[in-house]
């Protein structure tokens, strides 16, 4: 301090002071910190919901051990999943109805979660009730967990009948209310014992039994099974052809009658009809009654690959469906094709138009096709959970439209053809037993050829009553033979049961 030389004595510099460059440095740091704030916002707000549901998130782990999960009940309040406590007082899950195992899945301390227990985990444990404001305010409550009870749209009686109807065969049944998208049955066989996996005393044997079963019960066939559709895919061709205006209900093809006998030549390949179809000129209704491959091949060629692919996409093809359970992505053709709509050539398009070639579908997807026609062209979002009940009461899951696929007149025309396929004397030969007594019924059977010598998959999709449908259905029985052999009668029985229960 004794050094007090006055500063101006050393003045006269031409150099700029450092304030400006220091300001630049400060600005750079401020921008960097703004980046941190954005990063924090990304993880804490944008990604918060999905990160908080990850199975290895301590929130989920803590909840799994400590929280008594919400119950799961069917549409009539019948309890499907509840809880017991082990010797240490820690809760574990008990499932009362095995036919729901492929839907509800399991929640196990050792093996994690599957099915609805997985996809609705945060609501079942009460870590989140899906309402951002409620979630933010939850922390002010004494117990931050608010486990939600889930009410499913499924009717236990239909679910049990569907599983029983599939019997020892592998297969799937999907029943949907086409006006709301509520799932009334979602059966996949074989089923498994999910209680055994959830119970700490039997979890290891229970899980090993399900995992090692060659029939793969842990695969939910209704949503994850990919099958060749065969003739039920013809309804997709109808939707695309009529929806795009390329064909009409009265469209006929001059070469079709002859081709029924000799086969239809497309780019040098000859497409043959299945046996028993007469050499006549068909329109939409007669082609659907007879399930004519030739007429549909011609209709598909006229519709074009672009239209076929884009109308299929409107009904959910091409990507996993937005659904309560994981779904496989249905396809009209393999990815990577260069022709219109992704088809590799016209031969593939012609074969795809009647459900062969590279088309692969999930039973749920085919049920949605039936729903689209049934609901006058408007596709409703399919959903399993119809209500959640927590501390603050019950919240209904409202029906949501996925969009209009085709106009109401177009839908009615297809519905009429499908009604003929079930109720006319010709059509009913292929759809034996699908008719609901006393209720107008529409449908289409399918016999999916798998190549080789094995029996084909037996398919049926349909709905009833025709003018104001209340139920839509898709049934597949793996290697069940012709569509009329297994799938159609089972669908008829299940729809009859539905109307008996609902009181028609």
């Amino acid at each position: 301090m004794r050094f007090a030389t006055s500063a101006p004595a050393r003045g006269g510099s031409t150099r700029r002071p450092l304030g400006r460059t220091i300001g630049h440095v400060g600005l750079a740091l401020t921008v960097a910190f703004a980046g941190l704030a954005l990063g924090a916002g990304y993880w804490q707000v944008l990604r918060s919901p999905d990160m908080s549901r990850e199975p290895d998130n301590p929130l989920v782990i803590a909840a799994a051990r400590n929280v008594v999960r919400g119950q799961i009940v069917d549409r009539n309040g019948k309890v499907l999943a509840s809880n017991k406590r082990d010797a240490n007082g820690e809760p574990y899950r008990v499932y009362t109805d095995r036919t729901f195992s492929t839907v509800i899945g399991y929640a196990s301390r050792q093996y994690g979660t599957a099915g609805l227990e997985r996809s609705w985990n945060s609501q079942l444990t009460g870590a989140s009730n899906g309402n951002p404001i409620g979630d933010a305010l939850r922390k002010f409550q004494r117990n931050p967990y608010d486990p939600q009870k889930l009410t499913l749209g499924i009717s236990s009686a239909l679910q049990q009948a569907a599983v029983k109807g599939l019997g020892s065969d592998r297969g799937a049944v999907v029943m949907i209310d086409p006006q709301t998208g509520e799932i009334l049955a979602l059966a996949s066989t074989p089923i498994y014992d999910s209680s055994a996996i959830a119970n700490p005393a039997t979890q290891d044997q229970g899980f090993a039994a399900a995992r090692d079963n060659k029939a793969q019960p842990l695969l939910t066939r209704a949503t994850q099974g990919l099958y060749v559709p065969g003739s039920v895919f013809k309804i997709v061709t109808d939707v695309a052809g009529l929806g795009s205006g390329q064909i009409t209900p009265s469209t006929t093809f001059p070469q079709q009658a002859q081709a029924e006998k000799d086969g239809l030549v497309v780019s040098g390949f000859r497409i043959h009809e299945h046996p028993g179809v007469p050499s006549e000129t068909f329109d939409l209704t007669t082609a659907t009654e007879w399930s004519s491959n030739i007429w549909y091949a011609l209709a598909g060629l006229r519709t074009g690959g672009d239209n076929l692919a884009s109308f299929a996409a409107r009904m959910g093809f091409g990507k996993p469906l937005d659904f309560d359970l994981p779904t496989a992505s249905s396809q009209v053709t393999n990815p990577g094709g260069t022709g219109p709509g992704g088809f590799s050539d016209l031969v593939e398009l012609a074969n795809a138009s009647y459900g062969q070639a590279e088309t692969l579908v999930t039973p749920l997807q085919m049920a949605l096709v039936a729903c689209t026609v049934a609901n006058q062209g408007i596709l409703m979002k399919p959903h399993l959970v119809i209500a959640t009940t927590g501390r603050d009461g019950t919240h209904k899951v409202d029906p949501a439209e996925l969009g209009r696929v085709i106009g109401p007149d177009t839908a009615s025309a297809i519905a009429a053809a499908m009604q003929a396929a079930v109720e006319s004397s010709i059509g009913s030969q292929f759809t034996t037993g699908a008719k609901v007594p006393g209720v107008t019924t529409a449908g289409k059977s399918g016999t999916a050829q798998l190549g080789g010598t094995g029996a084909p998959h037996s398919w049926f999709i349909g709905f009833a009553p025709v003018d104001h449908p209340r139920i839509a259905i898709a049934v597949i029985v793996e290697k069940g033979g012709r569509g009329g052999a297994r799938a159609a009668p089972l669908a008829g029985d299940l729809m009859s049961l539905f109307f008996k229960q609902a009181g028609s």
Partner: protein, 516 residues
């Protein structure tokens, strides 16, 4: 002195207190905030659902009292010193320290266990002890440092000490997890790289202020491109080599990144030449690429950063858990004590108290809390840079800017690592992370910044001859042509009046430096 309006009456002879009302008010806010936090933590503990092992234990009210008492004592000492020092910096740091104390009280006590004599100290106890020492150091330096000669005149000595410290760590350091970070001398063990930060800044302040004219004005032309004078690239290359050495030998990515960033920022601040920054960034990219190829630690860190989910139970585990913690917090957080830094006695983030305190705070205080903490760091940076911009000469300006940058850059590097914006590097979050070396060195930084903010300190000595390097290379102009650095600082609004030779503590220019 007579001029000082805020001056309180002199108590015995030498002591002339000066009121620091702004600091008083801010500290009151800090105390209230920490009290509220503490009450909230205790309430959460009392209502916590039984059987839900969140690992909460009763917080020690004595700790809180001691901390608040510490702030009061430090405040009174600053008042008694009578210096016109910044009044915002200390409360800001006190707030960060308070947040740290709350967090360490809340985390499991047994994360850190140290026996001192008959006592067994847990995490909260030890952190409180370090906070006390850190603030004692800060206040002590703020009050006593009235000259910068000891820093200014011996820069090469400091540099040599720094290099010696680095070499000692290279050779003698304790190796933990493949990293050689800490040095044990008898009973004392510490992380020299923490102290090295300050030494680096002191050296750079001396070097850059002395050679500034040359660095600014000379150019080497290579064809159409005008480059900085080539001989002055030597320090950049040297700094680069040291940073790479730290990576290769110590595996300390964080320190290397911090040193190089601070160096580049100061070089730019001193010269205003973006060319240096561009070259520095190019060197960094080359170095980073080579290190990625050669050093497994670097490769692992970068790969985790690119996709932590590839090995979610292995190398990526801790980063994923950090992101989960942020996500659990959401907008408002779970509330203090209601988060999940432990689940059934297991820590999802083992290094939560050292490397990931921000993740724990993000969970319990939410995005709002994170914004507030980032804001506090920005205030520290702003105060430091403001002190720098109004410093009396280049040396002090670069010194103050460098000290502020060390804190700001370090906070950025670890926060960005926690948020997966950059690869994670194991450095501390200043004032919040658990760790003695870090807290002590940050205390030193705050103390120096406070001292530098008092424009009544002894004015800079007359300029010395140009830097040795400049003399050797002949690039410099004769010493006489060197303008005094101090005048350059006299911006339009801050004329520097002559000083009276006595009572330097009272010397202050109008408008100068009491933190307003």
């Amino acid at each position: 002195m007579t001029a000082a309006t805020a001056s309180l009456p002199a108590i015995f002879g030498g002591i002339r207190p000066r009121a620091r009302w702004r600091e008083t008010k801010l500290l009151a806010v800090v105390a209230a905030t920490i009290l509220v936090g503490s009450v909230s933590l205790e309430l959460t503990r009392q209502v916590a659902v039984p059987g839900e092992a969140t690992g909460l234990h009763p917080a020690n009210p004595l700790h809180l009292a001691i901390y608040l008492g510490l702030l009061l004592v430090a405040h009174v000492v600053l008042i008694l010193s009578g210096r016109r020092m910044d009044q915002i910096l200390f409360p800001t740091v006190a707030m960060l320290g308070g947040i740290s104390l709350l967090l360490m009280e809340r985390l499991p006590r047994n994360l850190v266990v140290q026996s001192v004599g008959p006592w067994k100290l847990g995490l909260g106890d030890v952190q409180l002890a370090w906070l006390i020492l850190s603030f004692v150091l800060a206040t002590g330096l703020a009050v006593t440092v009235r000259s910068d000669r000891w820093l200014r005149l011996y820069k090469y000595t400091w540099a040599a000490a720094g290099v010696a410290l680095l070499l000692a760590t290279f050779v003698l350091g304790d190796e933990v997890n493949g990293q050689r970070l800490s040095l044990t001398l008898g009973p004392i063990s510490g992380q020299p790289s923490e102290l090295l930060k300050v030494i680096l800044v002191v050296f750079l302040a001396g070097y850059l202020s002395e050679n500034r004219p040359l660095l600014v004005e000379e150019s080497t032309r290579v064809g159409p491109i005008s480059l900085p004078p080539l001989p002055f690239l030597a320090p950049m290359v040297a700094m680069w080599a040291i940073a790479l050495g730290i990576v290769v030998v110590q595996r300390d990515l964080g320190a290397a990144l911090l040193f190089f960033t601070v160096f580049l920022a100061l070089l730019y601040a001193a010269t205003g030449r973006p060319g240096y920054v561009v070259m520095g960034v190019l060197l960094f990219l080359v170095g980073a690429f080579v290190m990625y190829q050669l050093v497994p630690t670097v490769r692992v860190r970068v790969d985790i950063w690119l996709d932590p989910f590839k090995d979610r139970t292995g190398t990526g585990y801790q980063v994923i858990q950090s992101l989960y913690a942020f996500a659990r917090g959401g907008l408002l957080g779970t509330g203090l004590g209601a988060g999940l830094p432990t689940v059934n006695g297991v820590l999802p983030i083992p290094a939560v108290h050292t490397d990931f305190p921000l993740a724990a705070l993000g969970e319990e205080l939410g995005l709002v809390g994170i914004m507030a903490i980032l804001g506090l760091f920005l205030v520290v940076i702003e105060r430091g840079l403001r002190i720098a911009a109004s410093a009396a000469d280049d040396f002090r300006a670069i010194l103050a800017a460098g000290l502020a940058l060390v804190i700001g850059t370090q906070a950025f590097i670890i926060a960005a690592g926690n948020l997966k914006l950059i690869p994670l590097t194991g450095i501390t979050l200043p004032f919040i992370s658990y760790g003695g070396s870090s807290l002590l060195v940050n205390g030193i930084i705050v103390g120096l910044l406070l001292a530098l903010s008092d424009r009544g300190v002894e004015p800079p000595p007359p300029p010395r001859r140009p830097g040795r390097l400049a003399r050797l290379t002949g690039l410099g102009r004769p010493a006489a042509a060197h303008p005094g650095p101090a005048a350059a600082r006299s911006g339009p609004s801050v004329p520097v009046p002559p000083r009276t030779p006595s009572g330097a503590a009272e010397l202050a220019e109008p408008g100068g430096g009491d933190g307003g």
